[in-house]
Symmetry: C2
Subunit: 203 residues, 2 copies
């Protein structure tokens, strides 16, 4: 058994302990990261230190869409070129970026900053569901597009939200499941093909 | 294809970029870490930021053994209870901790902060070989114990060092093969390390 003691000078032990708080980082990775930064990349260490301090100080949640922003309301929510009748719900800012990169959506967003995960103890209270419901009930939003991931947890979240939103008289849609653009059928898994068949549309 | 763009507010983009500099962290992990810290652990983020700044500012290399220390010479090197005729060479401070935990070594150390790795372009110049040779030639050290890992790179480093040190008239030994071949010292239990020290052989 490895005795994962963090010893040595205090600043090193504190750095390893702090790195261990990162998701997916155990004591061995934390040590490796600490040695790497101190030995080979002190400039990177300083930069990361500053970036962390800055981010925590300067970022907050957009009052409308919940994404990280430096202002009260983010640029996207402030844009007059966005269709305020459409609200797309995503799990993370990265997902929002992916949808923006498709250049095929002109509505607004709500970023959950997570998804329901009973196994991890993440319920509706841990995610900003009440804020989302309030946001969607502004009288201007007509359709809510559920763009949570197509994982078990993302699907659970979508089902749960669909019921709540539909009960408030909103049109609720979900991103289509299907064969990824540019891919060959023989490399696509059977489950995806099954969904693509079920969701087939007039051509 | 995922377009791994880092967009959004500048402090977030800068944080993701800085996290990507950590070894083994790609853009996806960096985003996950950033969202996690901002959303669920701002205190941890502040703590890590401070720890990084502190560590880089306060730590330097011990003038004698090369490990990280806050003072000119580390506590171990300053200890009068250590046998100055024995010098144990390890790759990292974590390896030194493991040997200390075996409570079977009373000599001094030299920490390479790495190992030879031709594939990664790490040669004798990238590691502090000249400082080690100078250190070992103080006229007091009689035996150098090579405790680099029993990996290909660790063995290469040991062979290389053995020749250099023997040419300088020093007795050179290697940890006994009580340590399972192919494994890293950090993951070996203290008892095995104790046996390997006792059974050390001429190298
Ligand atoms: Zn917004
Ligand atoms: Zn020292």
């Amino acid at each position: 058994m490895a005795t994962d003691r963090t010893s040595g000078p205090a600043p090193l032990a504190m750095l390893v302990d702090a790195l261990k708080r990162l998701p997916g980082v155990g004591v061995k990775s934390a040590q490796r990261m600490a040695y790497h930064l101190l030995q080979h990349d002190p400039h990177g260490a300083r930069q990361l230190g500053q970036a962390l301090t800055d981010a925590v100080q300067r970022l907050r949640h957009c009052a409308r869409c919940n994404t990280f922003t430096e202002s009260e309301i983010c640029e996207t929510c402030q844009s007059p070129r966005r269709d305020p009748a459409l609200l797309c719900i995503v799990e993370t800012p990265a997902d929002q970026n992916m949808i923006e990169a498709s250049h095929s959506y002109q509505g607004l967003y709500f970023v959950l900053m997570g998804r329901l995960s009973p196994l991890e103890g993440i319920g509706p209270r841990e995610i900003s569901f009440d804020r989302l419901l309030e946001r969607a009930a502004d009288g201007i939003v007509k359709e809510v597009i559920l763009a949570t991931n197509f994982t078990t947890e993302g699907e659970t979240t979508a089902h749960y939200l669909a019921e709540l939103l539909r009960a408030r008289g909103l049109t609720v849609t979900r991103l289509a499941r299907g064969v990824p653009a540019g891919s060959e059928l023989e490399y696509v898994d059977a489950g995806t093909i099954a969904w693509a068949l079920m969701d087939r549309r007039a051509s």
